[in-house]
């Protein structure tokens, strides 16, 4: 029995649980479709409520969306982010600006009101479409990778693992087969989603298809290595899925998958630098800015080495436990 037999076996076993497969894949695909659609519709800039008594107010700008109102807005509308600022027209060219945002932001609005229509906002969205799409996908893909890899924990719980591991296939081939299965199930649906978005919904997805193939391969590899390690360490499915959710959400947010990070904490910034997701998004940004491949080489090597390490640790751990007769 070689790796591909295990692969086929795992594949067929999950295909047999149609309901399970359809739902998990279906919901991830829906989530990704939504996320990409969402990203492509992101409007960059600021929303301002302009409160005035006069009727001839006309603002034209590509970066600022101005709603002209005649009544003051509620404080909760500022809080919930519906409006970034409220500008009250006090007549004779005087304005009062109410906002929860930073002073820098307030200054930008002031210069906008004076007539600078191309004012630069320190907006949360500074990156291109491609990086944003990958940022959204990375979280969903990591969650999905764990969902499918957790079949391995089930195997351990119901004894299937023991039976396969004692055949000539052994632990290593078994885990390799599983990882290969996980790679496919991570890569193929997410790639299909991108194709659907590009050719059916005609959404601008940023990078070319070729670039996406490489980047998604890398992402699937990261997700697989991470989930293999976690599932090797754990014997209990539910606990592990709780830990996984915690880890995935925290690390994805820290690596700035939704927006660029602008914090200034020295210790946290150094922790963030170590995260593979952060390095991954940096590579995407580099490609987006048209930088040479050599600029990303160090980060790429780091990601591959880091994840290979996770992979090897996961396999060794399972093998040691197996030899000690834990299963």
């Amino acid at each position: 029995m070689n790796i591909f037999n295990v692969y086929k076996n795992v594949f067929e076993r999950s295909i047999n649980r149609k309901f399970y497969l359809i739902f998990s894949l279906g919901s991830t695909i829906v989530a990704m479709l939504l996320a990409i659609y969402f990203t492509s519709k992101l409007s960059i800039g600021a929303n301002i409520a302009f409160v005035t008594n006069s009727k001839n107010v006309n603002f034209k700008s590509s970066v600022v969306q101005v709603d002209v109102l005649h009544e003051k807005i509620k404080e909760s509308e500022l809080f919930s982010g519906k409006y970034d600022a409220e500008v009250i027209d006090e007549g004779r060219g005087k304005f009062k600006i109410e906002t929860f945002k930073s002073d820098k932001f307030k200054k930008a609005i002031q210069s906008f009101l004076i007539g600078d229509t191309n004012v630069k906002f320190d907006s949360t969205v500074k990156r291109g479409v491609g990086t944003n799409i990958l940022g959204f996908m990375i979280m969903f893909l990591f969650i999905q990778a764990f969902l499918f890899m957790s079949l391995f924990i089930e195997d351990k719980q119901n004894g299937t693992f023991k039976r396969i591991a004692t055949t000539p296939a052994g632990v290593i081939k078994y885990l390799m087969g599983y990882s290969l299965f996980n790679l496919t199930i991570n890569f193929v649906p997410s790639f299909l989603v991108l194709l659907i978005e590009k050719y059916i919904f005609k959404v601008n997805i940023g990078f070319s298809i070729g670039t996406y193939i490489c980047l998604l391969m890398l992402m699937s590899f990261m997700a697989t290595a991470y989930s293999l390690l976690l599932c090797s360490l754990s014997e209990n499915h539910d606990n592990c899925s709780m830990y996984s959710t915690t880890i995935v959400i925290a690390t994805s947010l820290l690596s700035g998958n939704f927006y660029n990070i602008n914090g200034k904490n020295y210790i946290l910034n150094n922790i963030i630098k170590v995260l593979p997701q952060k390095n991954y998004l940096d590579i995407a940004v580099n490609i987006e800015n048209g930088k040479a491949f050599s600029d990303s080489l160090a980060k790429l090597t780091y990601i591959i080495v880091f994840n290979l390490l996770l992979f090897v640790i996961g396999i060794m751990f399972t093998q040691r436990r197996f030899k000690k007769g834990k299963y």
Binding site: L42, G81, A250
Partner: protein, 246 residues
């Protein structure tokens, strides 16, 4: 009386599991700290970035109550115990009602602990006394999702399937509801899309209560949430079959 014995057992199952405790108390606090840190420089001085997350993170916990119910209901070891309970002389409905209430109580405890942390350690603004009403809405959300979790389990007959389906939906809701960052400011399409998420409704109600002293959304929302909760418990009754356990 029998019911309380069951409830006590279910609560103990939750409370003595380190995974759940970390998830309910550790993760909310960690998330608020991370998100607050990430957005630190985009708010004006005097307005804590934690103010926003002190409201959205409890909503996040409330939504995840459903995965907790699912775990506490149909996890492999617990499923066997359920079988024994089924054949003891108690009402069948006690099983899923007790699971729902246990996960509601446990999550509420987590929400209250993390909110007290936000209030007294991070010094966030919850408004005045009205904050109590905001938290009543959040707890109602929590109750609805606890019973939805039980319903999913009864429909899918297994914890794994139920959780896989739920976790993706909850993630979408959490995201659209603006838990990680405000989704209102991203244009008309997204802000109208975000209204499919209950997290959004709760957030809107809570922020109106805290910032505008406007209680108008509170009662309708609580009624809707309770109706959904009762509805899903009725579905549990219709779909919960003893045969699935044997």
């Amino acid at each position: 009386m029998n019911f309380f014995i069951l409830l006590k057992r279910d609560l103990k199952n939750l409370a003595f599991n380190p995974g759940y405790v970390i998830f309910e108390i550790g993760l909310p606090i960690l998330l608020a700290l991370i998100l607050g840190y990430l957005n630190g420089s985009s708010y004006r001085t005097g307005f804590s970035p934690y103010n926003y997350y002190a409201i959205t993170i409890p909503i996040f916990s409330a939504l995840y109550a459903s995965t907790l119910t699912a775990n506490n209901f149909m996890e492999r070891q617990i499923k066997d115990t359920n079988l024994r309970v089924i054949y003891s002389p108690i009402r069948l409905s006690y099983i899923y009602i007790s699971k729902t209430i246990a996960s509601f109580l446990f999550t509420s405890f987590g929400i209250i602990v993390s909110s007290l942390y936000f209030k007294f350690i991070l010094k966030t603004n919850y408004g005045g006394f009205n904050a109590i009403y905001a938290f009543i809405v959040i707890l109602a959300t929590c109750f609805m999702f606890s019973s939805l979790g039980a319903m999913m389990c009864c429909i899918f007959k297994s914890e794994e399937a139920a959780n896989k389906v739920q976790s993706i939906f909850i993630n979408i809701f959490v995201f659209l509801g603006g838990v990680y960052f405000p989704t209102e400011g991203f244009g008309k399409v997204i802000s109208s899309l975000s209204w499919i998420s209950p997290a959004k409704w709760t957030f809107e109600a809570a922020s109106r209560i805290i910032y505008d002293n406007d209680l108008s959304m509170m009662m309708p929302l609580i009624l809707i949430y309770m109706a959904v909760a009762v509805g899903s418990l009725i579905i549990c009754r219709l779909t919960f079959k003893v045969e699935d356990y044997v």
